[in-house]
Point group: C2
Chain length 388, copies 2
């Protein structure tokens, strides 16, 4: 993992509260995508405004309290966090981004958060992988593993850090991702690239209730490499790098779904339009019945078909094709009609930790992928027993 | 329970195959609503055509095999079932409706179904509650209880019989409902009344993947009472009767959700439009996280709020109000902001077998209700272990 030049990261967690800091030694262009949930948390409202101006120097993130559904006072808390971080960073407070993740409906303990931030700033910042991991661990809630991905170009690099669990805990629900690069780029260029990548990656993870009150993805570029996007760095290379890093992180979030034992990738091909392909892929990966069948290692293609049809996707059963694939093999279960298959072979294919369901609708040439996980006893247990 | 005049019902089940017959001594007007799943089973395609003509004399229903995703041969099977029943009934085969429920992707055993139909016709038809129950039991799949509701007017009556489970088994997924009345009515009048009632009842049950390949609701009126709708029977009384019978059946389907222990009713008030109210109510009742919290008897209002916001419903947190209610009391958890509440009292409210979540969006005056059930270990078990 290469950490882009000119960035410092750090983080600390004490009991249920964690604080992560991300700082750029040079001014950054910034772009963000934010939850479309109509009940947006105060930090989302605030950070969107910062992104609209396109300039930032740093980020303060807290875990433990989402600062969602907290009213006017919630916004005061955000402003205090931004102000506190700006003093540490020595930059204007309108160049500090704020993110929160944790319990909905409780105000964040700002004094405690700022004390922790001061501690991180004074002795916990660095530009090496260990500090990136400290930042990542600080912002975890129900996450069971770190989520990192990076790309090294010729003289520049891109790093992504994320938190979130595929079947998200609603009170600990946020999906947060931070992408940093030392390329020089305009906020407008970053925004277009980010929006497209998010559409095909983070927006294609199956999460309960789709989007939480706090979901945020940020892309910051500080130009410290001296290389300029579109001049020294080909746009296509940069776009691919952002897309690949986003896909890595999205897959890791899906894999880390609460109580999950398997990662599910659904690929839909042969759709009339990209929109229909996405809708079909999301429908399959979100289906409780498909997810429970995956847990049971059952290649239940009838559930796959029913989910696609229920999503009102244009499909002709005569040209529909459904297969289950993994590193242990491939089994076609429907091909214009039910296909007889070897049950033992199918069970072997589904016994893998990563399973792909490939659906060809036979109606056009558009395709899309979505990611999720299986539905397990453990999922019900976590979510039935959890109590703030 | 009063059985409308001039109808005979009966049914039998042998192993995994059941057959129900419904016959009217007089010609009926008929209306139907059918699944909007794009992969519709052959009997759905066929029965919709019968309903388009508006006249019917009887219905043959089989359980065990849905006759979905069975191609051209599936339609041949439907035609054979219609033909066999029409011979028994002594009526033209284009006045026989056909419904199927059961495993997707397998052709129904038509010879066996017709042998069972003959047996029912020869010795198992009747106009009393016991025969209605036999019909109902014959068409059950994963249902654990009968689903009946009736209304008695002045000289006329309405009876509804249904099958289906709220969190439906995808391979046994069908929701079927049959409403019969001895009022005289035009097919067009029936269709309008049925469509409206279904929209507020059967379409507001939370089912996995929304609608199965086979969902069908039929309303048949044979005029045997001699009373005419709109003349002898007020339209408003008839509409209310249909709506109430549909709601009873829909609630029973939700209550019978696979592995469920509680019935959940979600009422959304104060929405900008009926459409938004419906979307919000459906979002809450369909949320895995709300359902798991209900199983855990946890008044988790944060999950309710997140589900509504994720459904992109217009809501201002300052005027939002959320409460949990049951026969054991009521607890307000959010009212323009989080409300402190007595945890023990909340646990008592949620310990009931029927729980209502009431959400006031404070944005308008439209309202809607939806029904579902809790998400349990048993649900995962049934759906992970089920194998055709």
């Amino acid at each position: 993992m290469e950490v882009p030049s000119g960035f410092l990261l750090g983080g600390v967690k004490e009991d249920d509260v964690g604080v992560g800091l991300l700082f750029s030694e040079k001014p950054c262009s910034v772009a963000g995508t934010f939850t479309r949930n109509t009940l947006r948390a105060a930090p989302v409202e605030y950070s969107e405004e910062v992104c609209a101006r396109g300039r930032a120097r740093g980020v303060i993130v807290n875990s433990g309290h989402a600062n969602a559904l907290t009213g006017e006072e919630g916004m005061q808390d955000v402003l205090r966090m931004a102000d506190g971080a700006s003093r540490l960073f020595g930059v204007p407070d309108d160049e500090v981004l704020v993110c929160s993740t944790g319990v909905i409906g409780e105000r964040p303990p700002v004094d405690r958060i700022l004390r922790l931030a001061e501690k991180v700033w004074e002795s916990g910042m660095g530009a090496d992988p260990e500090h990136v991991r400290a930042f990542n661990r600080a912002i975890m809630t129900t996450d069971t593993r770190e989520k990192l991905s990076s790309y090294s170009g010729d003289g520049w690099s891109l790093l992504g850090v994320a938190k979130g669990a595929g079947m998200i805990h609603p009170n600990m629900s946020t999906m947060l991702a931070f992408l940093i690069t030392d390329v020089r780029a305009s906020p407008r260029g970053l925004a277009a690239t980010l929006r497209e990548s998010v559409e095909d990656t983070f927006n294609m993870i199956s999460v309960d209730g789709d989007e939480s009150t706090n979901d945020t993805v940020l892309l910051m570029a500080n130009g410290a490499s001296g290389l300029e996007l579109g001049k020294d760095v080909p746009e296509s290379e940069f776009e691919d790098a952002v897309l690949n890093v986003c896909e890595d992180l999205a897959r890791e979030i899906a894999r880390d779904g609460e109580g999950s034992t398997k990662l599910l990738e659904v690929e839909v091909r042969g759709a009339r339009s990209k929109k229909e392909a996405r809708r079909a892929a999301r429908a399959v990966v979100s289906s409780n019945l498909v997810k429970a069948a995956l847990f049971g290692e059952d290649p239940n293609w009838g559930r796959v078909g029913a989910a696609i049809g229920a999503a009102r996707v244009d499909v002709d059963p005569d040209s529909l094709r459904i297969s289950f694939e993994s590193s242990k093999g491939r089994v076609v279960t429907y091909d214009g009609g039910p296909v007889e298959f070897d049950e033992r072979r199918a069970a072997r294919v589904l016994s893998d930790r990563e399973v792909r369901i490939v659906v060809d609708l036979g109606a056009g040439s558009a395709s899309a992928r979505a990611w999720g996980c299986d539905l397990t006893y453990e999922y019900v247990k976590i979510n039935a027993e959890y109590r703030t």
